[in-house]
Symmetry: C2
DNA sequence: TTGTAGGCGTTATCAA
DNA sequence: TTGATAACGCCTACAA
């Protein structure tokens, strides 16, 4: 393995000079730098990052923590997108990223093991985490933490979140602008992480336009079999009431299930009923009719999150505690104008 | 930061003894070990993995390489499952895992940068890779490589693959055992990575049972909008021929699209036509009727892959060049017996 | 069974 | 502007 010493020798400078030159120090003459760079390239020098980490006394590593239960029981494409964003964004930094699963109770015991393995300067958490676990993490580790997609929980902990409220507002407004006056809602219970925000955005859009909710289902619980929840929702709604001219669904899968039930009853989508979802899953552009939805940019959450964490680690972050990532409407074919 | 020296001091032994004790060397008396362990625990000693890597002269790191185009353009849950398996399995080893995207042409130039960042003892590749890229990797890096899910390509390079052939055989056999004699096939072109294996397994099952294929569609191309491919397939098939009593589809999404078209034409599934898919996606157990399929265990591919790679790195691998991971049929409600 | 001392490849602090 | 040299924290002959 060719090392710094070899480069120094070839370039006819000392180890120290070679090191400084390669790190583009302004102490070194341009000419010398060039010479060193030339030889480094020439003899294919690859720095040993571990020696560097050691000498610098910093790990330059960020540990991404993921709840293993959530991850393995309901593997979700969102994880993949966040992870992709994180890796991508970290590529051009001096930081490496490592991943670590955590479980429920044993957490604290595991923690020390994790640290052994992942010496780290900062932590990013990809799941909705419980308060006591988070408290323990903070107390034990004393390193910066950034929470991703925690739906604005833990107001005083750094985080990056999707704008659930704004997305719901936007979606509902979109329906209103299409002329809809009777708008239904299918979403999660109030205590669900997504419940409050989505419902809030929906309500606000209505009241800002002097409208009232028409037909509401808020009993979708788990993150699994969400399509089934959508079916159940619509089945229940069909029994009880008149169907509105449009629905906002807090998840595309909810919309997909609901649409299926309605179509089976002979309703035409979007001629009879319009639907707008939220998420933009792969499936959403494949179903009939292609679903209009609010696209959530999870990759962006990951990218922004890692940048933020690195800034915090380096003591030069000065932005908001919670960063809110905006989302946009993707118009497809599940909504129609009403007169 | 508490270090080994501190532990040694507390335990009243030398640095060397402390080190050996913590590494459970048999040179050290049980009693001494206990004392050292006790103090390490007590003062919350966390080894610096980078110092260790450096002293050992090994990176103890494995780099997982992912084609960024595939990853970002068609993020697939399979990636997530492999990654999950890899991380999980690496947890109890001394190896860390890092991830790195690669692109097409610039590959070679990027390579050196990657190495700077991910000093590594081995490489795992998660995508179907092209021959010339692989050759370059091998030539430049000279470290062990394991290919994941490459559909048995590159016979002399270590790899872990799903048993596409066996899965197709099994699925087809399942249909045959249900009494079906006219069995259709919806899958990929012969030159598609999945094409040959799936078609081979299907054909073999038929010929082993003195049956011939009845109605074949092999034009599904991309990995994107596979559901649409399924729809197209069935639309075309409907025009041309009699529909068989059962279909094997080389992907669940293909089956989902095909079923949709057939149901819209008034066919009852599975009363009129049975379907068996392959993959077992989340969606497969949500659609109507719940899809019977061959479950591919991608997490297992990841786990086995990392174990294999570590063995190879440590020069104690003695198994097959290609490890084939078996899959199993998940019976749901899309197949019926025929008389 | 344990301790001494040198080395792993960098970076950083002084002098020169 | 550069060069010695001492860290960084751990491992491991070799000696005792």
């Amino acid at each position: 393995m060719v090392k710094l010493k070899d480069v120094a020798k070839k370039a006819n400078v000392s180890l120290a000079t070679a090191s400084l030159a390669l790190n583009d120090s302004k102490l070194i003459k341009e000419e010398t730098k060039k010479e060193v760079l030339y030889w480094a390239e020439k003899i294919n020098y690859i720095p040993n990052i571990y020696a560097r980490k050691l000498a610098k006394g910093k790990s330059y590593n960020i540990c991404i923590m993921i709840n293993s239960k959530n991850f393995f029981e309901s593997p979700n494409i969102y994880y993949l997108k966040i992870i992709g964003g994180v890796i991508k964004e970290s590529e051009d930094t001096e930081y490496t990223v490592s991943f670590s699963f955590y479980r429920d109770k044993e957490e604290l015991k595991l923690l020390s093991k994790k640290r052994n393995k992942h010496n780290m300067d900062g932590i990013m958490i990809l799941d909705v985490i419980e308060k006591n676990m988070l408290d323990n993490l903070i107390k034990d580790l004393k390193i910066p933490i950034v929470l991703i997609d925690n739906h604005k929980k833990f107001k005083n902990i750094y985080g990056v979140d999707n704008d659930d409220f704004g997305g719901s507002y936007k979606a509902t407004k979109y329906l209103i602008d299409l002329g809809h006056k009777r708008i239904g809602y299918i979403g999660y219970p109030d205590k669900h992480p997504l419940g409050k925000e989505c419902w809030g955005g929906f309500k606000k859009a209505l009241s800002d336009n002097n409208l009232r909710e028409y037909c509401v289902y808020k009993k979708c619980r788990s993150f699994k079999s969400v399509i089934k929840s959508g079916r159940n929702a619509m089945a229940e709604l069909l029994e009880k009431k008149l169907i509105p001219s449009a629905f906002f669904c807090a998840s595309d899968y909810l919309a997909i299930g609901a649409i299926e039930v309605l179509r089976n009853k002979g309703y035409k989508i979007p001629a009879d009923v319009s639907f707008i979802g939220m998420d933009d899953m792969e499936l959403s552009s494949e179903i009939e009719p292609h679903l209009t939805t609010v696209r959530i940019n999870m990759e962006e959450l990951g990218r922004v999150g890692i940048k933020k964490l690195i800034s915090i680690i380096n003591n030069n972050y000065s932005g908001e505690v919670k960063t809110i990532i905006s989302n946009e409407i993707v118009e497809r074919r599940s909504c129609s104008r009403i007169n």
